[in-house]
Symmetry: D2
């Protein structure tokens, strides 16, 4: 069986940890690869390689760092289909969805190609007479990324292209569930001309994570995952003096107004709820319908759509199904248990995905729809991260908005409406970081920034876009005066102010 | 004796804590005021007042929030001398220095007057066909500031004008050693038209601090103080999910090149080392002389300058002395013990401030100069925060630079030279956040940002300037599409990418 | 009778031109002041004073230049009512409207207070190895403003606060119809501490204008007025090598969609069409109604509103009328002749303002409403600049949009609708510089920029906001390298590129 | 003989003008190509193709427009050597220099790849209560570029990548002396996927230029060339209502301070004065030596360097010479006549290039050095645009600076010094747009902007960098309010201000 370990200093390096775990094809339930779980020492060796590489990489001009990104972009395009298949084979999502993931990640590389412009500091002449002040945005050193299984390419690509373009070096700890694509990204970076040690991959578990969070060489940690781990990462990394951005869970609501086009709403919801089997932090898992008429019509519409939705392997089947398996047997079981809980709590189970493809060895759960869900139910309060959509009925825009604002999470949300007023008020008042207006999955583009509010995010700076550049740089402010006649020669004991 | 407690919801509020401590005039050693130490409940009541005020203050337009700042600026100018006297009476610094502090704080208010421009988000039409994306920079809610004794006006003014202009409300916990000026700032804000509850002051100690760090209502914490406390604040606030910026200690080196004008160097050093009795986080406490010739000449020059330096009360004496007392008896004793340690470690004590003004009941320590200090000595390694200057001799620019980069702290530094090359290399390579070129105390102006590197700072965003605005705002990104014919009506199961 | 001449070098200076003209109170038709028309030499003396003042003013730090603006703002607030009366007495607009004009002008002063931040250039370290590049935004020298009668305070305030804050000096040539307020602004600037010669006022006609457009000392010209003069100014100033921004005429359409709230539409239209007697470059002069039902209802509603609209003097009458006189007898006659033409061309005259207040010696024309106006009519094609509103009926959004886009002018426009889609498409497709969505007079705020499209504007940069700062500064880009070992010593004959 | 005509609507199109002229290889004096000179109608057909293409190209999303630029960059890299040979064969510069030109042009394409970020407008929520304002940066329409012979690739690449990425379409009128490379660029753009009509090339003379300057469809004109033509272009284009940026001539001084390293100075000067045979608008043509000692030593050093400088064909000779021929026989004759004039005016001719390679049929003039040049001489006052360097002796920094500031042109300049003070004062005070500190040819990088001061530039916006984006976009500001309860329903007659 194929063995995956670590990528350190420009090459794949075997692990001596003695610990490993299988990597499954979720569509078949068969393990095709084994991934080793790195030791603390191995993790430290990656950090050390990155620290060594930083010395020279940070001195490469931004223009030349960008040129590596230009080449990396070309390689990503060239290998897009190969990578999409790899994603599907380990994550389970369908091929076209994996292509979409890659495009979104690629766009961050495109953004990072503009780093010479993005790294500009500010320059002020004569902040005082004959005194100038300017700022430099310098790289931090070794940065770490810890990324989830659900986007094995896109989420790492939110982080390292910008970190590296800024002059940092990087250690990525991807999910151990789908490690192959991150390793391929490392190879492509090397092929693009990135010097050894600038980008490293450590496959591992909490052992590796804890080294990344505590090793004093690591300057910054970027994390995407569940909220409890995000909190742990934020608290631990911060307690060790690092800057941390940690993105956590979500329960994204779509508010469906009575003036929305239900055809569009149901189309958008089907994709946003069941695409990628609901394993997206921007998936819509709650449809808030304003009024029973909207809810009744929408549920009926969804029910008929679900009836024809095809569930199957992400690759190798023609035509492509709309939905693949979940990532693991355990996760599928957990999602089924949430469905059980919903039934037990009294929600109306309109479509039941628990037995879909039950004869397959793959980790399938079919599209599931609950109606009459209340905000007290567990299936409403918690993030299920599977193909389970809850319909909640609210009497008005205001109560819908209030419900969203009361939820623990504030990652994404959407409103579907024809009304400019409703859209504006929703955008202004909703306590959520990413807001769609007639857009079900409002993931900001690479040149804007990704991040939620409330317990969906920890740390002041979002991922990619201008915030990403700020996160991966340290400001240095120089204040300069060139004496001779202009400089006062007497002693100055008072707080200097500028004339 | 005058009693100072808290300022909550637009007015001074007495404390029921039963705990209090005296506030001294450091020049006389006499306590003239008593400050109560707030209870946890009192702290929570300030937070609660701020939370209530947030509801309406955050809805005031940026333009109108700015106009309160315009009025506050006018009041600060009108009351500048009164405030400077108050600073001197509690902190000890001389009157003209206190005026300088106020000017520097005032400049942040001026910067905050530009908030309508500074709060602009980004707008992109057609991120995809018919899809627009834009960002809003919205206020966080209740923010807290915890500030040190050495700048009772300036450091709070680094924080709250921007926080408030951004639409937040604020709870300030100033140093209990000089609480009067923060209370006056609160009164002037009210006079400027700031609604009750938007700005609150809690006088207290760790009890109050811990509430601010852990109360879930508080969204952000800004701190300036010593490194151990900065670390505690950063770790604790972060562990409670908040965004934190925590500025810590310093050991600021001035690198004196052989081509520097020694007249200018000694003038700059006298002010930077002994101004405000060395109680500035940007004070120069180490002069790194490149070559013995430079050191010998500089030490001789400083010695003669020290001989004529006047130490005395910060106000009421004409002509004004150059240096006032330290802030407290305990701190003066601690500084003296550092001098003892320096002698014990073998540094050459060129000027000894231990007995200066020894007949006064004030907390005086005179200007102290050590030569032949080595990097192993405690007086080199630790922040003394008093009028003690260490001369260290290095053979070259490179070794001077290396020494600075090896120090734990990286707050401020300066180089004195006539050489463009030396200045550029120093600015490029030094691992310090604020760098002066022939400027001894390179505090960035209000429209730039203040912050160090290494263990002088925790958190990615600096204070005031554009970073300050980013710190006190939460980004919200809206992605909007207006359907009708333009919107695809089919289901979309793949990761949406933009056409 | 009061004599107004020029303000040069910090004081009012009498004219020796021998040419002058009366300044009327349009509400009474009585001349209360005489304004001299400057000679070419007098104009050159103002330029010369400005050139001399530039030498030192450009060296004042931006921080201190901003502080003059802070004081000027305070003085404008203090004198607001006095200034509003002066505006009304010479322009005719009602007092509260004049107050509004002043507020809008004041906001540009507030924006200019942020000049230390706004003037920042960009700084890039290592554009090549060891090579840095940064930009300075430096003042131009002497700038000129030529402004129209309809906003004697606001339009000059769009220009000179930013020009001056950027370090330039300024010669203003305001309208000779209402010269008093510009002179008062000059006095208040002097009172605010602006040094003599930094701001100068020349009252005059084409003689003065032509000197400003051709004198080689003048670096930049800002103009607001009619399109033919804007073209002349742009062509002539450009032919003399200057940078020019010239804003011209307008014919602003409001597109009224069937889903708009007609109560709001008619309220908005009444103010936008008849406020300031229609003498605003952002007035709405065409209401495009989508469908006859909308048009019929709106016309009926407007007719009844017009019936109760009070016309009268802008000050001294209680309650304040809604509309004052036009600026001059000639202009009133011209507006009446347009009404005659509309009748002759077959438009339906719903309300006829020609005889309103006909017994007054003031220059009154009452609110006039035409229905069934076609795009071929003169009253549709030309800017009337009076209280004449044309209703044009279109069958659809698309035809309404097309009509707007076919018009010669593209200054402002508005759509009234409840539909997010209509608003977005309108904003995206309309070829007009300033677009209101349910906002009848979408004048951008001071921190955004003012400017139209098509023949409403000449020159690439708009007024005030960031564009204003760019217009009044010249970029200088420094590229620096500090040799020693790092610099190649061989000859380099090839186009240097950066490593 | 090869015939070159126009590139319109995605393909090469023959000309029916009947007018043409030969294109020479300046190294051999042999014409190898014939270029037709377009008629007015042919020029209009290119404009018309561009206007048609604008309709759809402006609707392509910035992201997708950028992707064409990414592909174009890859093609430029792939064809770099082929293009460099073509440049050398028509312009005469040596191959490695032509490669350098291409790299500099390529960098603008790289900058344009970041257009999705660069095109962002500003968004302000609540400029007034419930009122939002945001700006769009929309394309202009058809833009024109008129470019000189000396950089047949680089100067067009300063313009069209940004113009096109912004959504405009483009008509390029390159120099008729070296038309082949612009035509190849057009082909490569088509190969990169640019739709027909977006980029067009018209080869021609004043006939074509005048159409571009006067045709109402053309919205913007970018020009680089001599000052008289720049003035003509600026005046004519402006008189026809267009936005114009016109870059003219130069006389770039290098100020050599006594503390400069003469080895470095002479190396820098040899390249900056004689590279590309001095046919660069950023060439150094005047060396201002501070003090006779500097001048004597530098002249001696240059003389010996000139003695070994190889002049010869730009390609095909190994090792590559340092300098190729001038572009044309006429231009070579003109340069020789300037040398004659310098001798006649009394300058000391240290090295005489008039007879260099006199036996060749190529258009060679050798490196020429004058000493003791005075500011009154024609060779000092005028731009020679050939390999002629003038040494002027000045007694001090101040007089050197004054001389530079008195010159008609202000394109580029440099100072060579070791002094930070001299560099800073020079950068602050010199009235020149592009300033090198120990950098002889301080051409700003693509992400900064290129432009001079004084009579070297006409128009407020520089080329490429952020200014380039501003030049090629029109701002549209939307102000939006969504009524219902929030909107006042009464009539509003006063100037609307924001609450």
């Amino acid at each position: 069986m194929q063995q995956i370990a670590n990528y350190i200093n420009g090459q794949a390096v075997a692990s001596h940890s003695g610990r490993s775990q299988p990597v499954f094809d979720p569509a078949t339930g068969v393990a095709h690869t084994e991934v080793s779980l790195a030791t603390a020492d191995e993790t430290r060796s990656a950090i050390s390689a990155a620290a060594t590489a930083f010395v020279s990489w940070s001195q490469v001009t931004p223009l030349n760092r960008a040129r590596v990104m230009f080449k990396f972009k070309a390689l990503l395009e060239q290998h897009r289909d190969e990578l999409a298949v790899l994603i599907s084979k380990e994550h389970g999502k369908v091929f076209s969805d994996a292509q979409g993931e890659l495009t979104r990640g690629l766009e961050v590389v495109e953004f990072a190609c503009g780093i010479p412009h993005l790294l500009k500091g500010e320059h002020s002449m004569n902040v005082g007479r004959g005194v100038d002040s300017f700022s430099l945005m310098q790289p931090l050193g070794v940065c770490a990324g810890i990324t989830p299984f659900n986007f094995p390419a896109m989420v790492p690509l939110w982080m390292f292209p910008i970190a590296i373009a800024c002059g940092n070096t990087f250690v990525l700890k991807p999910s151990e569930k789908d490690p192959t694509v991150p390793m391929r990204l490392a190879e492509l970076l090397t092929e693009a001309g990135l010097p050894p040690g600038v980008f490293n991959v450590i496959n591992g578990d909490k052992t590796a994570v804890d080294v990344l969070l505590t090793d004093p060489t690591v300057q910054a940690v970027s994390f995407v995952g569940s909220t409890p781990i995000a909190e742990y990462v934020y608290a631990t990394g911060s307690a060790h003096g690092k800057r941390v951005q940690a993105l956590g869970g979500a329960k994204n609501h779509m508010l469906v107004m009575p003036d929305a086009d239900l055809e569009q709403v149901s189309g958008a919801l089907m994709g946003a709820a069941y695409g990628s089997a609901g394993e997206r932090c921007m998936a819509i898992s709650v449809a808030l319908c304003v009024g029973d008429a909207v809810a009744d019509a929408l549920v009926a519409k969804l029910q008929s759509e679900i009836a024809v939705l095809q569930v199957g392997p992400g690759t190798g089947v023609t035509p492509e199904p709309q939905m693949g398996p979940l990532v693991s047997q355990q996760h599928a079981a957990k999602v089924r248990s949430y469905i059980d809980a919903g039934v037990a709590e009294g929600a109306v189970l309109v479509a039941d995905g628990r037995q879909v493809a039950a004869d397959s060895a793959g980790f399938f759960v079919g599209p599931t729809l609950f109606d009459h869900v209340s905000s007290a139910m567990k299936i409403y309060r918690e993030e299920i991260f599977g193909p389970v959509l809850c319909v909640v009925r609210v009497p008005s825009f205001a109560e819908g908005l209030a419900l969203i604002n009361q939820h623990e999470f504030g990652n994404g949300t959407a409103i579907f409406t024809a009304s400019g007023e409703a859209a504006r008020e929703f955008a202004a008042q909703v306590q959520v970081g990413m807001v769609g207006v007639n857009v079900p999955i409002p993931v900001p583009m690479a040149f804007h920034s990704f991040g939620g509010w409330k317990r969906s995010v920890f740390g002041p700076l979002n991922m990619h876009g201008p915030d990403g550049v700020r996160f991966y740089t340290r400001m240095k402010t120089i204040t300069a005066r060139w004496p001779s006649g202009s400089m006062p020669t007497g002693n100055q004991f008072s707080m200097p102010t500028m004339k």
